[in-house]
């Protein structure tokens, strides 16, 4: 077994309360994380067409060989997979991911991952202390919020002390000062909401996919893990050298601290190592940076009030506009609202879009007390914490409009007869598969396309900062981004192996339908499936293409990932080999979706993407969208705000993409040749038996 792996995966059957192990070596070819999870799901989930709530659904919670090691921004992320319950109209096999230290503790306890099968007949929690695994009655935990349940489990396991303790009975049984890492659900998960999240520690959540509801369907309140072991690294000196080498790409570069902010823009690996504390908060609120296990970036924040601790991204942002509107500035309400979201265990991205949409319906006069959609939800309190509490309680406890919202906004919109209408105008910005638009498919197409040919909002920022944020924000200042458009194309040509095509950066009106754009999307699918979701390199640090601190402004992607992987495992993998593993995992996922019923004609965006352009009186339908484009023989940054997608051209693009992937262009199904080339002959056999093998 290579370094970095513990060699075994914990298999828990909640139906018969049995515990067994899988041999990690059987799945090592997939790297770890997502790849292993998909392969395990393929092997163990007998009927892949069941609902995510069915006991037959198999959930994998996987680490990577890099988890718990010194690898920067790759040590603390855990991958979750299984049939999700958020997807619409199909509950696709899907994934989510969370940070913190759960995967590290899992490795320290001797496990590369956890597989959960079946469903308990009454609430349980799983107590893992090294090799000792027990399925315990959760009667005393059911009903607690996600903070309370973690504190209670710490008390149970730890006995209220933070001193050195032995987990076993003997002197040599292993000791630790750590608290157990707990993955849990709140009330929303217990009531099987499709919008329920899994929560770990403070501020770590796996929101998309509705896995909190899946845990609830299995009567699984929490998994707690603590270990006293370590991770065997094949070449510790090489790992230390790699970490020191990587410093040149971080803030330790040549740019002075007070000058790094604008110049580091787009340098995913670099930047202020305390950036999490650099943002806004109530003015009188001291805060400190906070990060996941082993991370050099610390992109989260810890607040003096303790509310919202560790919250990041949208769970921190979902309410701040309303707070500002109600109070004239940012107040404690932002933090308290984030805290409530965590405690109920609800998907922040759904709630953010939900409030916008509900408020829209309220202002339109459709929703409100005595209205067509009758509700007691008090919109006069929008901006106050009480509004958030009322809404979240309705969802978690299934009353008032919460009974419908409990099923997620897509199904609520269907039930209220609003889905067609509101996705046509875009006031309900569901892009595809029931997931709310994260970035606009009409402008930043690689994000939209990636989601469309996949299973969910991809939430992968590899190109996002460089092709969208940097030029768009620069334009607001009347400036140019640090990475010019010609340089961006040049760097991407070098970095995006095996395609190495500069035209992949062409987001012009023609470029977005090109074969080069098909290559960009394919590269993205393969890279993220392996390096980010299987080896668990964090989305907020990789891929690192342009880097203000790196040599010749090049980032570490293409070299750094394998430098770390090889040091930890002792292998000698090349980037090309890693990308090929990503292609294999991507095709395996595709096969699962096909067994679930995926067809080419299902892969269409909602109507607003094709029909809504600039609104009269506005120069655009949304924010400035400035992206790289190759026009008149030159690379430039160009505003594409107001652009709509062309249905026929999207279909043409799909044909190009399917062709590139080796899939049947009429169905979107992989062919036997493609699958066998990837070592997935057994998958081809299964698809053929199901009559779903591409021709």
């Amino acid at each position: 077994m290579s370094g970095g792996y513990t060699g075994k995966i914990l298999r828990i059957n909640l139906t018969d309360k049995s515990v067994s192990t899988l041999d990690t070596k059987d799945y090592e070819e997939y790297g770890g994380g997502h790849g292993m999870g998909s392969a395990i799901f393929w092997d163990l989930c007998e009927d892949k067409t069941v609902s995510g709530f069915d006991p037959g659904n198999v959930i994998t919670i996987m680490s990577s060989p890099l988890s718990g090691t010194l690898t920067p921004a790759a040590s603390g992320r855990t991958e979750v997979q299984g049939i999700g319950v958020q997807g619409y109209p199909t509950e696709w096999f899907t994934r989510s991911n969370f940070g913190g230290r759960f995967c590290g503790q899992m490795k320290f306890a001797g496990w590369d991952g956890i597989v959960v099968e079946g469903a308990a007949d009454k609430p349980v929690w799983v107590d893992i202390r090294d090799d000792d695994v027990q399925i315990k009655d959760a009667e005393g935990l059911w009903g607690l919020d996600t903070t309370e349940v973690q504190e209670e489990i710490w008390r149970i396991v730890q006995g209220g002390t933070s001193e050195w303790r032995s987990l076993g009975g003997g002197r040599d049984s292993g000791r630790t000062t750590q608290r157990p890492a707990v993955l849990t659900i709140g009330r929303a998960g217990e009531t099987m909401s499709r919008t329920a999240a899994l929560i770990h520690d403070a501020g770590n959540g796996a929101g998309q996919g509705g896995f909190g509801g899946v845990f609830g369907s299995k009567n699984l309140k929490a998994i707690s893990v603590i270990g006293t072991g370590g991770v065997e690294v094949a070449d510790p000196a090489a790992l230390m050298d790699a970490r020191l080498w990587a410093n040149q790409y971080a803030v330790a570069g040549s740019i002075a601290d007070d000058d790094f902010a604008p110049q580091s823009m787009g340098s995913m690996f670099g930047g202020n190592p305390a950036s999490g504390a650099a943002g806004y908060a109530p003015a009188d609120q001291p805060k400190a940076p906070m990060g996941c296990l082993g991370c050099h970036k610390n992109c989260r924040a810890r607040f003096q009030s303790a509310a919202s601790n560790g919250s990041s991204c949208v769970d921190y942002f979902f309410y701040h506009v309303y707070d500002q509107a109600a109070h004239g500035g940012y107040t404690q309400a932002i933090l308290d609202a984030a805290d409530l979201l965590q405690r109920y265990g609800i998907n922040s991205y759904q709630v953010e879009a939900m409030i916008i949409w509900l408020n829209h319906l309220y202002q339109e006069g459709v929703l409100g007390k005595g209205k067509e959609i009758d509700t007691e939800l008090d919109f006069t309190k929008l901006g106050e914490v009480s509004f958030v509490e009322q809404l979240l309680d309705m969802i978690a406890e299934k009353y008032d409009i919460g009974e419908d919202l409990h099923e997620g906004i897509a199904l609520a919109a269907v039930k209220w007869g609003r889905y067609e209408q509101d996705t046509k105008t875009g006031i309900l910005p569901i892009q595809a598969w029931g997931y709310v638009q994260h970035y606009d498919a009409r402008t930043e197409v690689e994000w939209g396309y990636g989601s469309l040919v996949g299973d969910r909002d991809i939430n992968e920022h590899d190109f996002n900062t460089l092709v969208y944020w940097a030029p768009s924000i620069a334009s607001l200042f009347g400036a140019q981004p640090a990475c010019s458009a010609p340089l961006l194309a040049e760097i991407m040509e070098e970095k995006l192996t095996p395609y190495n095509d500069p035209m992949m950066m062409d987001y012009s009106d023609e470029g977005i339908y090109s074969e080069s754009m098909a290559k960009l999307v394919a590269w993205h699918r393969h890279y993220t499936r392996y390096y980010k979701q299987s080896l668990a390199f964090c989305d907020w640090a990789y891929g690192d293409f342009f880097n203000a601190f790196g040599p010749d402004n090049r980032g570490l992607t293409g070299e750094g990932e394998d430098k770390f992987f090889n040091a930890v495992t002792g292998q000698s993998q090349t980037f090309e080999e890693g990308m090929e593993k990503g292609r294999k995992i991507w095709n395996l996922d595709r096969a699962i979706w096909i067994l679930q019923g995926r067809e080419r004609d299902q892969e269409v965006f909602t109507d607003y993407n094709y029909e809504v352009g600039a609104v009269p009186g506005y120069t655009t339908y949304e924010v400035p969208y400035v992206v790289p484009a190759f026009e008149n023989g030159e690379w430039t940054y160009k505003s594409v705000s107001g652009r709509m997608l062309d249905r026929d051209k999207v279909e043409d693009w799909k044909t190009k993409f399917y062709t590139l992937e080796g899939w049947d262009t009429s169905t979107g199904w992989p062919t036997r040749a493609t699958l066998e080339d990837l070592g997935l002959g057994h998958v081809a056999d299964t698809l053929e038996e199901a009559g779903k093998l591409g021709a």
Binding site: F317, I473, A482, T620, E622
Partner: protein, 154 residues
């Protein structure tokens, strides 16, 4: 990102003082059809629509960006509140009902090169106008107080 020197007008001529009726109309809550759509641009989280239903709400939103923050440090937790300022000018005239303010925005704000420069100048224009609103409201309140005092004395 390389920065450019901010160019904004040195002086902005005073606007014609508003009438009591204009101030009352401009400060009212608007209907759904008359809303102004803004967006909060949040690196990492994405962009989200913000429907604005009154002039005060729009001003808080428009001037609510913390431009002094390290805007786009990776992992930074901040946002830019963005409104299409062409649409904003139209909205001031057609929905809010303050044509002089709309004209001032068109004349002094829209020609500027960048959104950042536009918002800095917009802040001054709106500040001047709100002072005028407050003055009108103050006179009205003072007159009301005096009337009440006279009535009490009588």
């Amino acid at each position: 990102m390389t920065t450019t020197e901010l160019e904004t007008p040195e002086t902005i001529p005073a606007l014609t003082p508003p009438s009591v009726e204009l101030v009352d109309r401009a400060l009212r809550d608007l209907d759904y059809e008359d809303r102004l759509v803004g967006y909060k641009m949040t690196p990492s989280a994405g962009n989200d629509r913000a429907n604005l239903y009154s002039l005060p709400q729009a001003i808080v939103f428009l001037l609510g960006t913390r431009w002094d923050s390290p805007m786009l440090t990776p992992g930074f937790k901040g946002a830019i509140n963005w409104v299409d300022l062409n649409a904003f000018a139209n909205w001031l005239r057609d929905a809010v009902g303050d044509a002089p303010l709309a004209s001032a925005v068109e004349e002094h704000v829209l020609p500027l090169d960048s959104y950042y420069a536009q918002v800095q100048t917009l802040s001054r224009v709106l500040g001047m106008r709100m002072d005028q609103y407050r003055e009108v409201r103050g006179v009205v309140e003072q007159e009301a107080d005096e009337a009440e005092t006279t009535e009490d004395a009588g």
